[in-house]
Amino acid sequence: MNADTYEGIVVLGVPRSGTTLLRRLLNAHPRIACPPETNLLSAAGRFLEEHRFAGGLSVGVVPGLDFSGFDEQRVLQRFREFLFSFWREIADREGKARWAEKTAVDVFHLDAIERLCGAHCRYVCIVRHPLDVVCSLKELGDKMECHLPEIYEYVRRRPAQFEAFAEAWRDGNERLLRFCEQHPDWTVRLRYEDLTRDPEQELARVFDFLGEPTDVPALLARALGKTESVGLGDWKTYDARSVGTDSVGRHEALSKWTVQRLAPIVNPLMTRLGYAPVGARASDAADEKRREELSRRIASMKLAAAKGNDDAR
């Protein structure tokens, strides 16, 4: 990769996939500044949103400005300069040649990021086992006492939280995978599990791709050892002093019942991302039959409960 052919780096991954860890590692590179989450790209995604109406009419900033003589490329170019100017200044301040951007929800704004940043950037894409992601999203929601707006869209549609999180994982990663397949020259993909198991090898691969090879063992030694500007992001990674696999396989605490319900949502994409599918139902028909049997027994129990309540009055 010729380092002169692009300007910035964008980290992409579904929230809770290790993007904050990756940010800290990138930021430890002597030539790369990767600040805490700026939210610039997700905000840019919202800024560029368009709403289509009957007859193919579209309402939004780009079609709106087109009426006044600003074509799409001109709008995007001006907006890109505005966004990039912040990251350039951050990199300048740190005396680094290149900037990188990471905000956890950016993957849900990939259409806009593709339009805005395109070939001007390279993209480091990280994926993680879906069941670990859903456990972590649950933990995040509990801790924050609310959901990230992009995740809330899923929770709003699906009262069963784990299924909502699994759908967010599926949609985010489907879009990410499509982006990687469409732009192999712009993207490098890694799995959280591989990064935590063998950070030296995985980071060397990433930095080679970026045209920014470096002494990775030295980078790892300083990456997590220093106090830095925290910002928003994974609170746990800021306590970590080394890259480890402690958070791999945390989904083993999920019930079999939950895993069976999530399997149809995540399995089709898991194999494409290099993960073994999780346990699907052995027999849906048998399970449904069993539930019917239990329902009938519970109906009898309900009658007994109603009778007991009547007797008590």
């Binding site: 019942w257 939950t258 519970i298 007994a304």
Partner: protein, 83 residues
């Protein structure tokens, strides 16, 4: 596999969307309406799958399933105290 009262409460909270605040071991679940028929089907299926036995037809009654303590007692009888 073992099943604890805490694990049942967690399942009720996470999977069934039931507010388990204030529920004690002897709080009535079904007869009080805390848990409805649909949710109880899911809970019983979960117990069967987690504990590896099938609940007998005559066992589905309030004596066995109307409180956390009763559920744990029933599961313990079916699987043994060390299961």
């Amino acid at each position: 596999m073992s099943l604890t009262a805490e694990a049942i409460l967690q399942f009720m909270n996470d999977e069934l969307g039931i507010d388990t605040t204030g529920l004690g071991p002897d709080s009535p679940l079904f007869s009080s309406g805390v848990i409805d028929s649909f949710s109880l089907v899911t809970l019983l299926s979960h117990i069967e799958q987690t504990c590896g036995f099938q609940i007998g037809p005559s066992d589905v009654n309030l004596d066995n399933f109307d409180s956390l303590a009763r559920i744990i007692a029933y599961v313990t009888r079916m699987t043994g105290p060390d299961a």
